[in-house]
């Protein structure tokens, strides 16, 4: 990775650093036009995000294939989290944020009137950078989503009328915790407060909680940034397994991690532009852009 590959475009007379300029626009669109096998799950086109006057994401276009892991890397402050929040419209919750452009989920535009945000977020789940379990029992954390969606009913009335889904809930809790590689550690204390778990366990609980609502896409914002190596390894393995059924988009600041777990990688650079997007092997071994090459080989960050 650290070997400096001779890039055919490196010698072009156009300075790549300029953010405007016709030739660079053209080049970028070539780099980000990435062909993959399989169906497109999320199609992002010309996405701009502003925080007040701050232009945080500049005309980003990329297609994310289903049942794969897509890693987003780049220096901090380059808009990775912002991009991720666009995919389930969590940016709507930030007052100053304004989003321009289009994101299609299974071909349906999500930035249009009449989109049911609740339904969208059921399908596009999210795990945050810092673990944020509810101050409830482990069991209640997991079954929170399905209960609220009405998929599981364990209310008093349901119990009275004998249609309580307690067994289904038990199965769901166990399945989700197993998926998140947490079951062994907490199976004997499901009724304890989730806030009593360690940071790594809490993060895996949050993953299990997101999986319990059975989303189609899972967005993860640096899920391992606060974890020790063992917990990180567990989560990486988990992400790898998840890609069989789910579409995973993961932000990470750790390039080795991105190289290990992802199928395709998108590199954002400071200023909020998508500099390169392609097959992970190709991005890391033969980056098309000099700036990406510099970033990956550690010359700037």
């Amino acid at each position: 990775m650290s070997e400096t590959k001779q890039n055919p475009r490196k010698d072009t007379t156009q300075p790549l650093q300029t953010t405007s300029g016709e030739s660079e626009e053209k080049l970028r669109s070539e780099w980000t036009e990435y062909e993959f096998d399989g169906r497109t799950k999320l199609a992002v086109e010309d996405l701009d995000v502003y925080y007040g006057d701050d232009h945080a994401l500049k005309s980003v276009s990329m297609d994310i294939p289903e049942q794969s892991v897509t890693a987003l890397i780049g220096p901090s402050g380059c808009g990775k989290s912002t991009f991720l929040r666009c995919l389930n419209r969590m940016n709507d919750r930030i007052n100053s944020a304004r989003v321009d452009g289009s994101v299609a989920f299974d071909g349906k535009e999500i930035y249009q009137d009449g989109v049911d945000l609740v339904e969208l977020r059921k399908r596009v789940g999210m795990v945050f950078q810092s673990p944020n379990p509810f101050p409830k029992s482990i069991r209640a954390n997991i079954s929170y989503g399905p209960r609220k969606h009405g998929d599981i009913d364990t209310s008093l009335l349901a119990k009275v009328f004998g249609r309580s889904d307690e067994d289904a809930e038990e199965r769901l809790v166990e399945r989700s915790l197993r998926q998140a590689a947490l079951w062994e550690e907490v199976s004997d204390r499901l009724d304890d407060n989730a806030l009593g778990l360690s940071g790594g366990q809490q993060q895996r609980l949050c993953i299990a909680r997101a999986l319990a609502t059975d989303p189609e896409v899972l967005l993860m914002d640096e899920p391992a940034s606060a974890l020790d190596p063992i917990a990180t390894a567990k989560i990486e393995e988990l992400i790898h397994d998840l890609a069989e059924d789910y579409t995973v988009v993961i932000v990470t600041h750790n390039m080795q991690q991105a190289a290990r777990i992802s199928d395709q990688t998108a590199v954002f650079l400071t200023g909020g532009e998508l500099a390169e997007y392609g097959d992970t092997d190709q991005v890391f071994e033969d980056p098309q852009s000099q700036r990406v090459d510099d970033y990956i080989s550690g010359k700037f960050g």
Binding site: M90, R123, N132, K136, A140, K148, T213
Partner: protein
């Protein structure tokens, strides 16, 4: 000085000097406690303590204490004790000691020497300057012990010498006939000197310097905390001691000794007699009673609080939800915030007047329990809004984000995440409010209270009072529309208005204190209910 100062890392040996300083700290604490006890007349100045007359005992202790502190400071200055003093005692100590010595000089010049205004001023300024110099000029060890020790020793000498008697009174010669009694001044001065020398001794014990200052600050903080707890305890203990005789007068146990109660449910009724008879809490006031009691007022206060809470909590929490979760932060929420804060600070008599003018004409045109409940409910409302809002704002936004990201609606999030996390705060706020409204007299006077001393037959039976009718509104409760009494109102009437002192309550003083005690118990039991509720909500980890 180039190098940083180094003190011993481990203080393994307790030297004799340390022991002396520790003893001085101990004596100061004892003096502090004695002073407080004397102030609240737990210890009489005229009496004796452990066989010694109190006043000379205090004087002797103060003298010993003052001398010990000075000796320690001077000894440290001449190297007899190992300490790490700073070059001076600091500006705060300097100002404090200057003021103290100003007062000492002024007092001696005017009271002992009998000098006029000029002499009084001169004396005060001279001694003040001396105090200032003694604090600032020498090293910290002398500067913080000498001025404190000498004042204390002087006070001790005055107490010892018999110059003031326990019964002395100083007429201040003001128009208002204000005077100071030894009974009040001696404890105050004792407490003050105890604090002063206690602080100096604690500094000495810490070897002055940074550590000494820390130990000195600890001592002041701890004594302060102890004093506050002590005063609160004394207040409650005082009420209990005074109230218990009246409360338990005529208490008897045994089958059938108590009054008869009838419990009616769906037409069937059961009548039984209580196996205990506590006249004060089970009787009203009546001519034929063996012993009079305050049952109607207890029940009145109880229903009053319950009604106000039932009215204010749902409304207040609802308003808080709207303000924190739905309304845009801006001019509107600011105005509402200012308005609620203002309402909570509004004097209760204003609420009372509102109830009198607005509610009473609408509820049967007479004072009634319902009007009182609503008036107090209006009083409680702003506090519930303020504390609930505070509690909801302190629920982290991460919970709301996490819930939204799971595809859960806002209202479900509020119900299942925000409210449960905020409930302990809501309960705390409500408890505070209940303490206030349970003790209100003015609004009750205007909206609810009928006769001052009501017979037991007028006890409000709110539950039994519900009647179902065929015509709208289908349910009525005449009990809610009756005037009744409440504990604080009854207390007020007995003390201020002198009503009832004419013998129909037996011993008015006992009756008064017992009423106060009952009021305290009623408020405390609401408090206990609140604490249990809060504990329950903290422990509950699973909400629908």
């Amino acid at each position: 000085m180039a190098g940083a100062t180094r003190t011993r890392l481990v203080r393994e040996d307790t030297s004799g000097a340390d022991a002396v300083a520790a003893l001085a700290v101990g004596v100061a604490s004892v003096l502090f406690g004695l002073g407080l006890a004397a102030m609240f007349e737990v210890v009489g100045l005229t009496g004796t303590l452990a066989g010694v007359p109190t006043l000379p005992l205090l004087g002797g202790l103060l003298l010993v204490q003052g001398v010990a502190v000075v000796v320690f400071g001077v000894g440290s200055r001449f190297g007899a004790v190992e300490t790490n003093p700073r070059p001076d005692a600091g500006i705060v100590a300097a100002v404090a000691f200057t003021l103290i010595w100003l007062v000492v000089g002024g007092l001696v010049a005017s009271q002992v020497l009998g000098l006029g205004l000029a002499g009084w001023l001169l004396g005060a300024i001279l001694t003040g300057a001396a105090g200032f110099a003694a604090t600032v000029l020498p090293r910290e060890d002398v500067g913080s012990t000498l001025p404190a020790g000498v004042v204390t020793a002087l006070v001790g000498l005055v107490f010892l010498s018999g110059y003031i008697a326990p019964t002395s009174v100083w007429d201040l010669g003001w128009e208002q006939k204000a005077s100071l009694t030894a009974e009040f001044m001696v404890p105050v001065v004792t407490v003050f000197c105890a604090l002063l020398t206690g602080w100096a001794a604690a500094k000495a014990y810490g070897g002055f310097g940074a550590r000494g200052r820390r130990v000195g600050a600890y001592l002041l903080v701890y004594l302060n905390a102890a004093a506050i707890v002590g005063v609160l305890f004394a207040l409650v203990a005082f009420t209990v001691f005074k109230g218990v005789p009246g409360l338990f007068r005529g208490l008897t146990f045994g089958p059938g000794v108590g009054p008869e109660s009838t419990v009616a449910l769906f037409g069937a009724s059961v009548t039984f007699s209580w196996p205990v008879y506590l006249p004060f809490a089970m009787n009203g006031v009546g001519l034929l009673n063996d012993l009079n009691g305050v049952l109607p007022a207890i029940v009145g206060t109880f229903w009053l609080v319950v009604g106000a809470v039932l009215f204010a909590v749902p409304l207040g929490v609802g308003a808080a939800i709207f303000l924190t979760e739905y309304a845009e932060r801006g001019r509107f929420t600011q105005v509402v915030e200012v308005a609620t804060n203002g309402l909570w600070s509004t004097p209760s008599i204003v609420f009372g007047l509102f109830g009198f003018a607005f509610l009473i004409p609408r509820f049967g045109n007479g004072k009634s329990l319902l009007a009182g409940m609503l008036t107090l409910g209006f009083m409680l409302l702003p506090l519930v809004v303020i504390t609930s809002r505070e509690a909801m704002l302190s629920v982290p936004d991460e919970y709301r984000d996490a819930s939204a990201a799971l595809g859960v609606t806002k209202w479900q999030t509020i119900r299942s995440v925000v409210l449960p996390a905020a409930l302990p705060g809501v309960v705390t706020g409500t408890i505070l409010g209940v303490g206030r409204i349970a003790g209100e007299t003015a609004p009750i006077l205007l909206t609810m209270a009928g006769g001052v001393f009501v017979p037991g037959s007028q006890t409000a039976d709110v539950i039994g009072g519900f009647q179902f009718t065929a015509a709208p509104p289908f349910v009525s409760n005449p009990e809610l529309l009756q005037a009744t009494s409440a504990l604080p109102y009854q207390l007020y009437a007995l003390i201020t208005a002198g009503v009832g002192a004419s013998g129909n309550v037996g011993n008015p003083d006992q009756f008064r204190w017992a009423t106060a005690l009952i009021l305290l118990l009623v408020v405390l039991s609401f408090y206990a209910v609140g604490i249990v509720t809060r504990y329950y909500f903290r422990r509950k980890l699973d909400y629908e």
